[in-house]
C-alpha cells in the first residue's frame, strides 16, 4: 500500500510559514443525541452530571473546529468545573451570605452599618467580575489544544480586573460613550495576553470605526422608543370616546393588532441596529487580531446574527432547553464558517508552552453568568 504523503508534507513543511485553513466539520444537529443523554443523566443524578455533560458538549464543539483539517481538542474535565463551582459556592457565595446575615443580626437590618456591609459585599462581588472573565478565558484557552500544543493567557487576572473596574465605573459618567473604546481596550488587553504554544497573539486597532454604529444605536434607540410611545399614545387618544364623558373604551381588535405590530417592528428595528453594532465589533476585533504573519478575518452580518439568535432561541425554547448544546454548536459554526486566517503562520516553529496549567475551573464566571459557551 503506497501513499503520496511526501508531496503534501513538503508543501506544509515550508520554514517561512504556511497558509492556515479553518473550517467546521459535521453538523450541529449531530449533538441532538448527546443533548438528550445529558438531560437524562443530569436529571437522574440530581444535577451533578451537568458539569460532565457540559464538558462533553465542549469536547464535541471543539473537535468540530478544524485547522489544516486537524481538530482542536478540549481537555478540560467535568471534575474541574465541579470543583470550581464548589469552590465559589463555599468560598465566595456562602461567606457573603453569612456576612450579610451576621451584619443583620449584630447591627439590625435598618442600621447604617448593615447598609454599608451590604454595599461592601456587593462591591466585592462586582470587583470579582473582572477576575471571573479573565479566569474563564484562561481556563478555556489552557484546555484548548491543537496538535498537542495548548493555548493560554500570559498575564494576571488582577491587572485585567482593575482595567475592567475603572472602565466600567466610567460608563455612567460618560453616558455610555466610553463603551466602544472600553470594548476595544478590554479586547486588546485579552488579545495581547493570549498565547498559542510559546507565541503571543497580537492586537492592533482602535475603536474609531465602532463609533459610527454606536452613535446610531445611541441616538436611534431612544428616538425609536420615543416614536413608539408617540404612536401608542396616538392610538390611545383615538380610542378615547369623543363624547361628553371622555371615557376610555376597550381598544378595538384593529387597535390591538396595530399596537402589537408597532411593538414587534420597534423591537426588530432596535435589534437590527444592535446586531449591526455587534457584528461590526466582532469583525473589527477579529481583523485587529494577528498571529505570526497572519491576521484573522471575520465576516458576520447583522442579519446573520439576528437569524442565529432567533433560531437558537426557538430551538432552546421549544426543546425546553434540552437542545441548548445544538444552539451552542450552531453559534460556534456560524462564527467558524465566517472566519478566515489570512497570511501565513510558521506552524512548525510553534513550541509547547512551558506555563503551568492551573487547576481552577470557571466557577466564578458561571456564578456571574459571563459564560458565553
Amino acid at each position: 500500500m503506497t501513499h503520496s504523503f511526501e508531496a503534501r508534507d513538503a508543501m506544509s513543511g515550508d520554514a517561512r510559514g504556511e497558509p492556515v485553513f479553518v473550517r467546521w466539520s459535521g453538523s450541529p444537529w449531530d449533538l441532538v443525541g448527546l443533548s438528550f443523554v445529558n438531560f437524562f443523566l443530569t436529571i437522574i443524578t440530581l444535577g451533578i452530571y451537568g458539569f460532565w455533560g457540559r464538558t462533553e458538549v465542549r469536547r464535541r464543539i471543539w473537535s468540530s473546529i478544524r485547522l489544516q483539517d486537524e481538530p482542536l481538542a478540549y481537555t478540560g474535565t467535568g471534575g474541574e468545573l465541579f470543583k470550581g463551582f464548589l469552590f465559589v459556592v463555599l468560598v465566595v457565595f456562602i461567606p457573603g451570605l453569612l456576612i450579610l446575615f451576621a451584619a443583620a443580626a449584630i447591627f439590625g437590618d435598618r442600621s447604617i452599618a448593615y447598609g454599608v456591609t451590604n454595599l461592601a459585599v456587593y462591591m466585592a462581588y462586582f470587583l470579582l467580575m473582572g477576575v471571573a472573565i479573565y479566569r474563564a478565558r484562561r481556563y478555556r484557552l489552557t484546555r484548548t489544544v491543537w496538535r498537542g500544543i495548548r493555548g493560554g493567557m500570559s498575564g494576571s487576572p488582577a491587572t485585567f480586573a482593575w482595567l475592567w473596574i475603572w472602565t466600567t465605573a466610567l460608563i455612567p459618567v460618560t453616558l455610555g460613550w466610553i463603551l466602544p473604546w472600553r470594548a476595544n481596550r478590554l479586547q486588546a488587553h485579552l488579545g495581547r495576553e493570549t498565547t498559542f504554544g510559546d507565541r503571543h497573539f497580537t492586537y492592533a486597532g482602535s475603536s474609531s470605526r465602532l463609533y459610527g454604529p454606536f452613535a446610531v444605536l445611541w441616538v436611534g434607540g431612544p428616538i425609536l422608543v420615543a416614536v413608539l410611545f408617540a404612536l401608542v399614545a396616538i392610538i390611545g387618544v383615538l380610542s378615547v370616546d369623543g363624547g361628553s364623558q371622555a371615557s376610555m373604551k376597550m381598544p378595538s381588535l384593529v387597535q390591538v393588532v396595530m399596537l402589537v405590530g408597532i411593538f414587534v417592528l420597534g423591537m426588530l428595528a432596535l435589534s437590527v441596529i444592535g446586531a449591526w453594532y455587534r457584528s461590526r465589533t466582532f469583525n473589527l476585533f477579529a481583523a485587529y487580531t494577528g498571529f505570526d504573519r497572519a491576521k484573522l478575518g471575520l465576516r458576520t452580518t447583522a442579519w446573520g446574527l439576528i437569524g442565529l439568535a432567533l433560531s437558537n432561541f426557538l430551538i432552546t425554547i421549544f426543546s425546553l432547553g434540552i437542545l441548548r448544546p445544538v444552539a451552542q454548536a450552531r453559534a460556534a459554526k456560524y462564527l467558524i464558517d465566517r472566519l478566515s486566517i489570512d497570511g501565513t503562520v510558521d506552524v512548525t516553529g510553534i513550541l509547547q508552552s512551558q506555563a503551568a496549567l492551573g487547576k481552577g475551573g470557571e466557577g466564578l464566571a458561571q456564578m456571574f453568568d459571563v459564560d458565553a459557551f
Binding site: H3, R8, S25, G50, E56, P71, G197, T348
Partner: protein
C-alpha cells in the same frame, strides 16, 4: 505480523511543536503501531495509554488520539514515544477498529464512568431525605432555631413588605388599643419572652399569616368576618402557635435550601433570595403543623381564660363560607381553610372540658377593633 492488518494514513504531532507529519498506522494487538513515512521509526502506543480528543460517538468519521504513557515507562517497548503526542486519523474504518480495541475511548463508556458517582451521590441524598422523613427529623427547624432572632425579624420584615405590597396598615387609636389588650392577655398566657408583633392590613383577602420573627398579619376581611373578640383571639392564638413552633422560619430555611439545590441543578444562574417572600406566601403548612398550632392555640386560650369554643365557631363559620368565598390573588389558598379538615378541628376543640372564662373586650371595644381600618 503486520501483513494481515490494515494500514491507515494519519497525521502525527510530537506534542512539543505544532509541526505534524504523515505516518502509517496499524491497529495492532498491543497497541497502535506507528511507522514514519520514510519507514524509519516505529512506535507502539498501548491502548490504555490513549485519550481521545472528544469521546468517540457512534459512526464518527475521524478520531484524534493523544498518548499519555504511564510515568513508569521502563516496560515501554518504544523509547521514542512522547507524552502528549497526537495522532489524527480521518477514516471511519480506523475509528471502528480502534473502539473495539480501546472501548474506554467511546462516549458511552466515558459517560457512565462520570455518571455513576453522580448516581451514587443522588442515591445518598435521596436515602438521607428518606431517613429524615421516616425518623420525623426536621433539619429546617433545627437550623431555624440556631439562627438569631434579629435575623428572623429582618427576614420577617422583608417578607411582610413582599406580601403586603404597600397595602395600608390599619391602626386607629381605639382599634389598636383593643388589639393590644387581646395581645397582652395572649402573650402573658403564652409565657413568651419575645413578644409577637401583630399588624392589621387593609386587604380584602380573608386570611391570617404568621411570618418569621414572631410577626402576625391579620386582614381587614378577617376582622369583618369574626363575630366576637374571642373568635379573633382564637385565630391569633393559632398563628402564635405557628410562631412558637418556628413554622414560618423553618419554611424560609426549606425554601432557601430548595433554591440552593435548584441552583446546583441548573449549574448557577437565577436569583436565590429575592423571591423567597413570594414563595413563602404560597407555601402551606402540613397537616401536623396545623394540628400543633391548634394545640398551642387551645392551651394559650385556656390559660388566658378565653373560650376556645369561639375558635371552633369561627372554623364552622369558615366552613359555611367555603363555597361562597372565592380565592383571590396569589394567596388563593387561605391558610385557615386548609387541612386538617375543619370538621376534625371543630371536633377536637369541642372535646375540651369546659373551664371558667371571662369576657375579653366590651362591645364598644370590639366594634372599634372591627373598625380599625376606618379612616
Amino acid at each position: 505480523m503486520l501483513s494481515d492488518t490494515e494500514s491507515f494514513v494519519g497525521r502525527y504531532g510530537d506534542g512539543r511543536s505544532a509541526a505534524s507529519r504523515h505516518v502509517e498506522v496499524f491497529v495492532g494487538p498491543q497497541g497502535l503501531e506507528i511507522i514514519e513515512a520514510d519507514g524509519s521509526g516505529r512506535r507502539i502506543w498501548a491502548y490504555d495509554a490513549l485519550a481521545s480528543g472528544s469521546p468517540i460517538a457512534k459512526h464518527a468519521p475521524d478520531v484524534l488520539v493523544t498518548f499519555f504513557p504511564v510515568p513508569d515507562a521502563a516496560a515501554d517497548p518504544s523509547p521514542t514515544t512522547e507524552a502528549g503526542a497526537t495522532l489524527f486519523i480521518a477514516d471511519p474504518r480506523f475509528v471502528a477498529q480502534l473502539t473495539l480495541r480501546a472501548p474506554h475511548l467511546t462516549a458511552g463508556r466515558s459517560r457512565w464512568r462520570y455518571a455513576i458517582p453522580g448516581l451514587i451521590g443522588s442515591a445518598a441524598i435521596l436515602a438521607a431525605a428518606l431517613i429524615i422523613w421516616l425518623a420525623d427529623l426536621s433539619p429546617s427547624r433545627t437550623i431555624a432555631m440556631v439562627v438569631p432572632q434579629a435575623v428572623w425579624r429582618s427576614t420577617g420584615e422583608s417578607v411582610f413588605q413582599n406580601l403586603t405590597q404597600g397595602k395600608a396598615i390599619c391602626a386607629t387609636d381605639a382599634g389598636r388599643q383593643a388589639l393590644d389588650r387581646i395581645m397582652t392577655k395572649l402573650s402573658t398566657a403564652a409565657g413568651t419572652d419575645a413578644p409577637f408583633d401583630v399588624r392589621v392590613i387593609d386587604w380584602s383577602l380573608l386570611n391570617a399569616f404568621a411570618l418569621p420573627g414572631r410577626r402576625i398579619i391579620l386582614t381587614r376581611a378577617l376582622l369583618e368576618a369574626v363575630g366576637s373578640a374571642e373568635e379573633l383571639a382564637g385565630v391569633v392564638a393559632h398563628e402564635m402557635g405557628h410562631g412558637l413552633e418556628l413554622h414560618p422560619e423553618a419554611s424560609v430555611v426549606r425554601v432557601l435550601g430548595l433554591s440552593a439545590g435548584l441552583k446546583i441543578l441548573l449549574s448557577g444562574g437565577g436569583d436565590t433570595i429575592a423571591n423567597v417572600g413570594l414563595l413563602l406566601a404560597q407555601l402551606r403548612y402540613t397537616r401536623d403543623a396545623e394540628r400543633s398550632a391548634d394545640a398551642h392555640a387551645v392551651a394559650i386560650l385556656r390559660r388566658a381564660n378565653i373560650s376556645a369554643q369561639a375558635l371552633a365557631m369561627f372554623f364552622q363559620k369558615l366552613k359555611n363560607l367555603d363555597g361562597g368565598v372565592k380565592s383571590s390573588g396569589v394567596l388563593g389558598a387561605e391558610i385557615l381553610r386548609t387541612h386538617p379538615s375543619i370538621a376534625e378541628r371543630v371536633d377536637t376543640i369541642a372535646k375540651i372540658p369546659s373551664y371558667p372564662t371571662e369576657p375579653l373586650l366590651t362591645d364598644a371595644q370590639f366594634q372599634s377593633l372591627k373598625g380599625i381600618c376606618r379612616k
